[in-house]
Amino acid sequence: MDTPFQIVVCAGLVPDPLQTLEPAAGPAGPVLKNEMMLPLVIDPWAAHALFEAAALAKRFPGSKVWLVSLAPRAKLQQVMMTVAQKAAFELVALDSPAGGFTESAEIAAEIAAAIERLPGIDKSRLLVFGGWESASRGTGTTLQTVGERLGIFEQFQGVDRLDMAPDGAFQVIERIEGGRHQASACSGLPAVFGWATGELPEPPNNPQIGMANMRTVMPALNRARPVKIANEGLSFARVTAPNQRRDTKIIKDMAPGQIAREIVDWIGPEQ
């Protein structure tokens, strides 16, 4: 008999990549200027993790996907309007500002505690998913700490593919240096997977999935547990948006052959 898996996807929210960000001083440390006004999206790599989780759950009927998200509740509600149409899940909301300038270890503690509180959680069937890095803090350290707190020591980062067997054994490939992958085999769960891009395209919006999800999303948002991140012992000496502008020399009306010669000379001798 197939094992129904329990898949917990950890995903934060990040500013839309098209937004220009400026730092500002907040009462407890640096924040983003007009942070509450910025449009947010689900963290891109965590989104891939969610799509992979949904696909896995579909392959093994009876499996369940939770989406644990630590973010401002109002923003979470906005983002859920689109995300909830992409994949079937049950939302677990934690209400916190949770910008980039927050302590990864403290975030991990809150997420791990939320996973421990899930009703009927069975670690022998548990897969913890997330992005291998966030697009806010970008440390790539939160999931590992979540795993440690849950006592999960089979961990994989930069995952691009996961092949699960019905008994919980699996094969996984992780990104390593030089455009290569490391392949590993693991004999059983639980395990933590920090996803890179994976191999699945973004699923199209499915209003039926959206309707089903929203029945649980709104109560979950109403129940969202307020979380305070203290950033113990962490301080920022400086936060800046560096000026990256270069004085670009624009060359028009030059023949391709001449441009090519310039480029080849600039590249220099063989590498």
């Binding site: 697009a135 970008g138 440390t139 980062q157 094969q171 030089g178 490391q182 590993s184 090519a260 080849v264």
Partner: protein, 347 residues
């Protein structure tokens, strides 16, 4: 007084990679900048003898090692155990390690077990008011911050290419062996490494040149047709001749990912930018790339940048490149190919 642990793993041949030597250089510089600071080295690998001998002259007061077959491979379970044991044995308050895929995976776990904190993707490590200060990017290279911490041990993963590698005399190192005895066995077996076929190996982190291909290569050309095959041939020939690394914009990678016959060798691993990588190369040549700030961070750490694009106002180039050639990339790259071919044939 800080105790700095330089923490590295060996490569398959027992050596230390360049990123490790860069971290050693940064650890030494930090140790020199802090008062009453001592440097300890910790090595993990199947056999750490060669690596320890190679850094015998680095000035570390102790060289600790975790050796054995389980530690020859890159695996969270064993690596976190080894790093924790070395952190504990060294009494380190600061751990400086290279941001390799192996340490990126494992060291957050070690920091947690030791009650410490970790900052990954550091781009500089300095000293401020007698304490370490780490520079790193936030929000995918859009904001830069200098981080200070009171909690110890503080693990710092230094990105490759951000410090001068240590060079110095080798010697016969006195290795203090640190025993690691996990209470259970790992369920994970490393099966191997999958590399692209030699012809399709397009990601070369050590290359001097990054070639960035944009979605413009796939667009309909003046003759009313798209020329994906021509683009593929031109780009691959250029990469073969220059040994450049290939980057791509998100739009082009997405097109390839959707199964469109665009550039068969392109994968998400080539993607540069906010949701891709931010590689460090001496030179970068962007062709047919379009997009604004979020995407151009992909070549923020490229020192010299040139671009070929038909649009003189292109966001990839204006204010981002040193030189923008307003021209048809197909025509230019054909000429480049001819010149490189001629150069190769010249004895």
């Amino acid at each position: 007084m800080e105790t700095i642990l330089f923490l590295a793993h060996t490569e398959a041949d027992g050596s230390l990679c360049r990123a490790a030597l860069e971290s050693l250089g940064a650890a030494r510089t930090l140790a020199a900048a802090l008062p009453d600071c001592r440097l300890v080295a910790g090595l993990v690998g199947g056999d750490v003898r060669a690596a320890a001998d190679a850094i015998a002259g680095c000035g570390a007061v102790r060289i600790l090692g975790v050796s054995g077959a389980p530690f020859a491979v890159s695996r969270y379970f064993t690596d976190a155990e080894a790093a924790t044991a070395l952190g504990r044995a060294s009494g380190a308050s600061v751990v400086v390690a290279p941001a390799t895929s192996r340490w990126n995976r494992a060291l957050a776990g070690a920091a947690h077990r030791l009650g410490g904190r970790i900052d990954a993707h550091a781009t500089a490590i300095g000293a401020a008011d007698g304490s370490p200060a780490v520079t790193r990017w936030y929000y995918r290279q859009r904001l830069e911050a200098v981080v200070c911490r009171k909690l110890r041990p503080w693990f710092i993963l230094l990105d490759p290419g951000c410090a001068q590698p240590w060079t110095g005399p080798s010697g016969a190192a006195a290795i203090e062996s640190v025993e690691v005895a996990p209470s259970t066995a790992s369920k994970t077996t490393v099966v191997g490494v999958r590399s692209p076929q030699a012809d399709l190996q397009t990601i070369r982190p050590d290359a001097k040149l990054l070639f960035v291909a944009g979605a413009g290569w796939t667009k309909v050309q003046p003759d009313g047709k798209a020329h994906g095959r021509d683009a593929e041939e031109l780009i691959l020939n250029f990469l073969r001749r220059t040994k450049a690394s290939l980057g791509s914009t998100k739009s082009l990678v997405d097109l390839s990912g959707e199964g469109q016959a665009i550039l068969g060798f392109m994968t998400h691993m080539n993607q540069v930018g906010q949701t891709g990588s931010t590689p460090r190369h001496a030179k970068g040549l962007a062709t047919c790339c379009h997009g604004e700030e979020p995407h151009t961070v992909g070549w923020r750490f490229v020192t010299e940048r040139r671009a070929v694009n038909l649009n003189p106002n292109c966001g990839w180039a204006q204010g981002k490149a040193d030189v923008l050639y307003v021209a048809d990339a197909f025509a230019v790259m054909r000429e480049v190919e001819a010149l490189l071919g001629a150069r190769a044939r010249t004895p």
